[in-house]
Symmetry: C2
Subunit: 480 residues, 2 copies
């Protein structure tokens, strides 16, 4: 724990902007067993208030209400009773409350992420009806109000609007991964949120706060966790992921690039470098060993993805980011130069299949978008060769990404390889497909070929407003 860093983070804790939002139609009358659906017209993160009264005889029994919150239309009324996936059922945004006395104005104490609210009178006396007099939410975000639109076509502007909304919903006291789940600061998500933020809300103090939260909760050896809890106190999760820790370095380098805040960059530089040093110890003969452990290196939520070569690529990519930062801070580091050189050469030797002209990963020599995109971003081949790699990828049976997170890096890889049009197609086709489905915010997971996929065992615990999917707002402004 670095208390000085945590103190800085605390001082940077933002105020939240609050806004009262209402569904179109608020007044409803319910008898026992009846339900009412309220559509708030957009995705909101906040606190619900319902104003209830009674009609008929005096209420002579408690009213048992279920209140369910849905981010997207597809979720409405789904029977979640038997959900038993590996992510806890406790994430379902469903409440069961007793109202002993009407009239009652009830503000639920928990925060929810939703567009739709379904209220059902599960049980009540037949001697009266329940009147929903009013229903509204106090929506909260730490994002400033306005962002000028981006995109050249109407479609791109629509995509951008959804991306910006996604980002703003996830901007709370920290950059959260998703306001429904997990509602906390994850490193991989932070890096992409920060990039989108620099070109939209420019709430750079929130990025700074988050960097200090990670830095302040590093363990005594300097290991940075994949995720930090900030309540009831700041605490690192005991989940460490190879790529997420490394991306701290890239996030610090980005921060300096976009803000020029040299004091912060200097303060965080040693930890950024430390992530490279710590990760370097995991290599054997300059090649990262493979692992079966779920989550040892994230890359993507595709459960069939082999991570080995991707991990090596992320390492090189982040080492290069730190090298650039070191140069700007006038702290050249020969060790870093050698790491980049050795790992890059080894990467080509170990993972580049020159017959196929593609990078392969793991003992089964798996071909995936994730690994090839990351290798292009790592720049172990020339730009022209990268373009060919990415082109060849399209004509083989490669493991595809399932998250907007990995689609972002794929788009970035295309841009780095000079294929801007293809990157733009990704934005229009991948994120655009979510827009076509009526998304108000972009999803945690979206596989256009399998829209019902979930790595958690069932869709109902998926998050349909997820920070790492906000990057069209960045890509459109940065490159187009």
């Amino acid at each position: 724990m670095n208390l000085k860093f945590l103190k800085r983070a605390e001082l940077l804790k933002p105020a939240l902007c609050e806004k009262i939002v209402k569904p179109d139609n608020t007044w409803r009358l319910l008898c026992g067993g009846e339900q009412a659906l309220f559509d708030f017209g957009d995705h909101y993160t906040g606190y619900l208030t319902i104003d209830l009264s009674s009609k008929g005889s005096h209420q002579d029994a408690p009213v048992l209400l279920s209140i369910k919150f849905y981010e997207i239309n597809d979720e409405i009324g789904e029977d979640t009773t038997n959900y038993n996936g590996w992510i806890s059922k406790s994430w379902l945004q469903e409440e069961l409350i007793h109202v002993d006395e009407l009239p009652a104005k009830i503000t639920l104490p928990r925060r929810y992420a939703f567009r739709y609210v379904l209220i059902k009178a599960e049980a009540m006396s037949s001697k009266h009806s329940l009147v929903i007099q009013d229903i509204y939410a106090k929506a909260v975000t730490s994002a400033p109000e306005k962002v000028a639109p981006a995109g050249e076509t109407e479609r791109e502007r629509a995509i951008d609007k959804i991306a910006v909304k996604t980002l703003s919903e996830c901007m709370q006291y920290e950059f959260e991964d998703g306001p429904k789940r997990d509602r906390r600061l994850w490193l991989g998500d932070l890096r992409l949120q920060a990039l989108a933020n620099y070109v939209t809300f420019k709430h750079n103090d929130l990025v700074k706060r988050c960097l200090y939260l990670f830095a302040g909760t590093a363990d005594d050896d300097g290991n940075i966790s994949a995720c930090v809890f900030t309540s009831p106190k700041n605490e690192a999760d005991d989940t460490f992921m190879f790529d997420y820790s490394l991306l701290f370095s890239a996030a610090v380098a980005d921060y300096f690039e976009y803000t020029g805040d040299i004091a912060t960059a200097k303060q965080l530089y040693p930890l950024a470098l430390k992530q490279i040093r710590l990760a370097s110890k995991r290599f054997k003969n300059n090649v990262i060993p493979d692992s079966d452990k779920l989550g040892w290196c994230f890359l993507d939520w595709n459960l069939y993805l082999n991570k080995q070569a991707g991990a090596q690529a992320v390492y090189i990519y982040c080492a290069k980011a730190v090298k650039k930062l070191a140069a700007a801070l006038n702290k050249p580091c020969a060790w870093l130069d050698k790491q980049i050189k050795d790992k890059s050469e080894a990467a080509v030797k170990a993972f580049y299949d020159s017959e196929k002209g593609l990078f392969v990963s793991g003992k089964d020599r798996q071909i995936s978008y994730a690994v090839n995109a990351w290798m292009c971003l790592a720049g172990v081949l020339t730009m022209e060769e990268n373009a060919k790699v990415l082109s060849r990828l399209e004509s083989v049976d490669a493991v595809k990404p399932v998250t907007p997170y990995m689609y972002h890096y794929y788009a970035e890889a295309l841009i780095a390889a000079g294929e801007k049009d293809k990157a733009r197609d990704i934005i229009n086709n991948y994120w655009g497909a979510m827009a076509d489905r009526g998304a108000d915010t972009f999803y945690e997971l979206f596989d256009p070929e399998n829209p019902d996929v979930s790595p958690y065992g069932a869709k109902c615990v998926n998050s349909y407003c997820h920070a790492w999917s906000c990057t069209p707002a960045y890509l459109l402004r940065k490159y187009f």
Copy 2:
């Protein structure tokens, strides 16, 4: 509405005595799916606090807890999912709450009636355990602490103790019928609670308050409801029951007899008399007509009981109580005398089957304990004849009572007929059977032959601490 009466009731609103109570063993550790049962050692009415913390990794998902309250051992763990009786499921003392952040000290806002609390971790992350650090309740009652024991034998003293506890649990801001359900002031219950109170806690102002609540919420014609709500404001229920309205008169007469409070008696006398006058209009040729309507006249929860002759008997009984009060207040009433005479003669003529030597009721000439006991209490025959009636009842297939409420009037009838020993047997055998089952408080319903009976469709909504069952405390002190 009589605002003067309601103002008096308001001024008499008691303070509640609070006591912190704990189960023997408080500390428990739960993983997802596990549960812990807490036994508070006695029945309590109050508010639960649980002090929770976490063990293991940082809590990375909400904890979904179910908290269920049980009055008796038989209820524990009963699956109530499919309960669909005509009394609302919302009465089940079951909560489902999310705990977003540990540690957390949670005081549930609702009041419960319970001895046992079952807490289950319905869903939570597998990365940590839930620690129940502490659990306690703030028990509330408006009954003063101590009452000297009554009863000659150990068994009777045990029965008395349970009866006194039952009464004290139901003494809150009003005399409630049951602290689990319906948690409010019913007239039939009030009359028996008041009798038990006069010889135990002597909290006579609480009786006075309740009488003024009924008097103050009478409708413009003077009709007194079976039940009064006091929250959010004083309001009569739109349930009127022939016998309950009449028993207001008896309750006022009792109040004067035990307190000598002549000012209150004078103020309430006109309404007491009014109940007799209003009920008199329902007669045809001095005989009350029969009705199929559930609850038109309560008498007992036996759904097969015909109420006709019982209603006539209650009328005579209450008219006599008012006559006695009128005499004490020096307000003799010839109309009342004639009512008693006419209705008594008509009762014998219409309902006494001289061949059987028993009272019968309804077109099917049903023989029941309820009707015969009430006819004895109404005193339409001589004391000796009453003793014979009650004796004959034992050797025929008569409809039996299912509530302690009706057993009370049966015991009173036996005493009125000079059969004190038989009344004492009722206390020892009927209430004693509940004591044998380990009752901490006496039940709303108890049929020794069918202990699982419920007029509501299922036992889980029964109330196991019910005011009208507290009368052994009265009978033992008054008659033995």
